[in-house]
């Protein structure tokens, strides 16, 4: 009993493809919901993202589709649309990213499905939002990042734009979609009412940069990391003898600060006003960080990253190595938190995957099903719902 997930017993009918919708529904599946992934005969287009492919399956696809069952239904045919509509009658949640008008032409819009299933929670995901002049346009990860101004915090002015390497437009939106659905389900449990909810990728990323819109409203001074990232050079952290690290001093006292400076052979910093307040304005996020970086790096060049991390921590500061994936995944902290889980896949073998983030003590998230092969569960699901292909 105590191992039931928070969403056990809820059925999600998932018409989405790519990254955003699938990340949303994977999280619902992690919570215990039964997620039925409806795919066209050619499959979710994310199945063709890559290389790399593992056992013929896209690594990207595999990372977004655990805890789901795959059913192939051709929504271009009348019988397929009828089958999907009948499945929607038994669903608690429908998630779609057909785009403007796409659900309506397939007979799967909210008004059509609600008639037979008034308690349904229906979630629409769009690139730019459902109002406004861009509502009919398709989006992509980079397009949304670019329009939401993300590249303004990366790279160098005048150089070609740089994007955030992670797929944030898709994945952050997927989380907001999951929130919207969960909110809808909670309200339904209390009121008995279903409803339609919606999120957009553009809206999600503009929300995630919100501190800056306020910072730009009427700031007292052009200073602070919610403003000056626009004109700062790229930040690589601090180079040491064997790699880079990053550090800040939030706490500390005079004695510790003096010791740090002496140990690093930076006595000149004691008389440099930019290092006042125990150096706070001179470390990574401080007012003088960029200009004094060469002073630090000259001292750091003789020491290893590990020595420097320990040294900064010893005076009450925060310091971490800047790591790439091989080092991160070998790190004992990642092991201690069991961030990487494993699951067996029918064709791709033993897969590594990032576990559900939140650990709920009473209704835990869990990984129960490997990402499905295309149509792996078509017969099972259609039989269980009393439907047959073509009927």
């Amino acid at each position: 009993m105590s191992n039931a997930g928070s969403l056990d017993g809820f059925r999600v009918l998932d018409f989405t493809q790519g990254l955003c919708g699938p990340f949303c529904t994977m999280q619902l599946g992690d919570g215990g919901a039964e997620v039925i992934k409806v795919e066209p005969p050619a499959g979710d287009f994310a199945r063709r993202m890559g290389p790399p492919f593992i056992g013929g399956e896209s690594a990207v696809f595999l990372s977004l589709n655990r805890n789901k069952k795959s059913v192939v239904i051709d929504l271009e045919s009348a019988s397929g649309r009828e089958m999907a509509a009948r499945m929607a009658r038994e669903a608690d949640v429908v998630v779609e990213d057909f785009g403007p008008g796409g659900a309506t032409t397939r007979g799967l819009d909210y008004a059509q499905l609600r008639a037979a299933n008034p308690k349904l929670i229906y979630c629409s995901i769009t690139p730019f939002g459902e109002e406004g002049p861009l509502r009919h346009l398709p989006g992509s990860e980079l397009v949304v990042q670019a329009m939401a101004e993300y590249s303004a915090s990366l790279g160098r002015i005048g150089d070609p734009p740089v994007r955030v390497g992670a797929d944030i437009a898709s994945l952050n939106t997927g989380t907001f979609a999951a929130q919207a659905i969960l909110g809808g389900l909670f309200h339904r449990l209390r009121s008995g009412e279903g409803q339609r909810v919606a999120v957009s990728e553009f809206g999600a990323l503009l929300h995630m940069r919100g501190i800056m819109w306020s910072s730009l409203s009427d700031p007292d001074d052009w200073y602070g990391f919610h403003l000056d990232h626009y004109i700062k050079p790229p930040d690589y952290g601090y180079q040491t003898k064997n790699g880079s690290f990053y550090f800040i001093l939030r706490r500390g006292n005079s004695e510790d600060w003096d010791r740090l400076v002496m140990e690093l052979g930076m006595e000149e910093a004691l008389a440099d006003s930019r290092f006042d307040d125990y150096g706070r304005a001179a470390t990574s996020i401080g007012r003088h960080a960029t200009e004094v970086k060469p002073i630090w790096e000259k001292a750091f060049a003789k020491r290893t990253r590990e020595e420097l991390v320990d040294l900064v921590k010893s005076i009450g500061g925060d310091a971490v190595p800047i790591m790439e994936y091989p080092e991160l995944l070998a790190h004992p902290q990642v092991a201690a938190l069991e961030v990487v889980a494993e699951i067996d896949h029918p064709t791709a073998g033993r897969l590594k995957t990032i576990r559900p983030v939140a650990r709920l003590s009473d209704t835990p998230n869990s990984i129960r099903l490997a990402p499905p092969t295309l149509g792996q569960h078509t017969d099972e699901i259609l039989r269980a719902t009393g439907l047959t292909q073509g009927g």
Binding site: L62, L171, D220, Y236, I354
Partner: protein
């Protein structure tokens, strides 16, 4: 009209950005969020610049839709008031260093004893086990640690930090909000509260799940690719005749012929090197160099018209000056302007979701530390016998 979280009260003992942003989202869904701060307020976020009229924008921004009270939890009288609020709350969120809240006497066991239906969230940077247990972390230190700088940077260049230091804070926050909603659903069905643990590191790695999957598959560190995507092509920025860049993204095979037509490169449609996404990714360099030459022959506006006509994803690199008045942004309320009691008119992030049956919002500014103490205590029927002015 009813709100999603109407009648749900949140005891908000959060600091900085991670915790506050999570409870702010709960507030926007209609929860009564009571932000409990040490006297003088949340020191960390109060000292973060920039400021507006002397108050940190981070603090203002992360605390919409809340009410503020100051309690000195090291004093018995204040702690007693906290426990009375806790009795009448549904959700408890804190993101102090592991161990700190226990020292204040408000660890999970204590809170659950006072209120067994409590949903208790403990968020931290690196968790409470392992060699880094208990270490503090903020957005840029977690960025540095979690691997994502290594996949971000100029094409095959040096990996760099995302300089708006909030994205991983807020990503963790959204994970908290989601987990609270899950636990509220569970409580509605089981009657029980529970404990939730969330680490920034895990949230940051989950946000990279597609990129970590590439690494798991190949065993090789993915290189930064400038503006380009790793698993789809063409999906990058190109410089146009007006020396501005256009972002384009062909993520689906069915978008490829339209893309070729828009660029008047119809001969590429039948070119076997580029027939499918995996082939285009495999030949990404030669494809990009052909396209780069083409895009330079006309300005961004021209390509935008043609790509829109073919329903191929494209867009310009916008700035805040353009975004704040953009008809798409205004029509959807992605950024909104609100009046605030202390800081004048302000642009703020819009709501990230639309609930048609139970609209969220409206967004309203929080307040200064302690501003709503009297109102909160009166409403909850808590007698403040600490003398005039409450906590000092």
């Amino acid at each position: 009209m009813a709100k999603i979280l109407e009648g749900i009260r949140v005891f908000d003992l959060t600091i900085a950005a991670v915790g506050p942003w999570a409870t702010k989202l709960l507030g926007a869904m209609g929860a009564d969020v009571i932000k409990v701060e040490a006297p003088g307020g949340d020191r960390l976020s109060h000292m973060v610049p920039p400021t507006i009229k002397g108050n940190s924008v981070l603090y203002i921004s992360a605390n919409h839709n809340k009410r503020m009270i100051e309690l000195d939890l090291k004093k018995e009288a204040d702690r007693a008031i906290a426990l009375k609020i806790i009795e009448q709350s549904d959700v408890f969120v804190q993101n102090m260093r592991p161990g700190a809240v226990e020292r204040l006497g408000l660890g999970y066991e204590v809170v659950a004893k006072v209120n067994p239906r409590m949903i208790y969230v403990a968020a931290s940077a690196y968790g409470r086990t392992g060699p880094m247990a208990g270490e503090a972390g903020i957005d840029p230190t977690v960025q540095s640690f979690c691997g994502w700088c290594g996949i971000t940077g100029p094409d095959h260049g040096r990996g760099e930090i995302y300089r708006h230091l909030a994205h991983l804070d807020l990503t963790t926050a959204t994970t908290i909000t989601q987990a609270v909603l899950q636990a509220l659903i569970a409580r509605e069905r089981t009657g029980r509260g529970q404990r939730i643990e969330i680490e920034m590191l895990t949230a940051a790695m989950a946000l990279q799940t597609t990129r970590l999957a590439e690494y798991f598959a190949t065993g090789e560190q993915p290189a930064p690719l400038g503006s380009a995507a790793a698993a789809t092509a063409p999906h990058q920025a190109f410089e146009c005749q007006d020396q501005r860049y256009i972002a384009i993204g062909v993520e689906r095979d069915e978008q490829w012929p339209g893309f070729c037509r828009a660029l008047k490169l119809d001969e590429l449609i039948s070119d076997q090197r580029f027939a499918t996404n995996p082939q285009r990714v495999a030949h990404r360099v030669e494809l990009a160099s052909m396209l780069a030459e083409r895009f330079k022959t006309k300005p961004v506006a021209w390509w935008t018209i043609r790509l829109n006509h073919e329903q191929v994803p494209c867009g310009p690199f916008l700035t805040f000056a353009e975004l704040r008045n953009h008809p798409q942004v205004l029509a959807n309320g992605h950024i909104v302007e609100i009046d605030t009691p202390h800081w004048g008119s302000m642009h703020v992030d819009g709501l990230p979701w639309k609930f048609e049956g139970t609209p969220a919002g409206p967004i309203r500014a929080g307040g200064k530390p302690g501003e709503h103490a009297a109102e909160i205590l009166a409403e909850l029927g808590i007698v403040d016998d600490r003398g005039a002015g409450g906590s000092k």
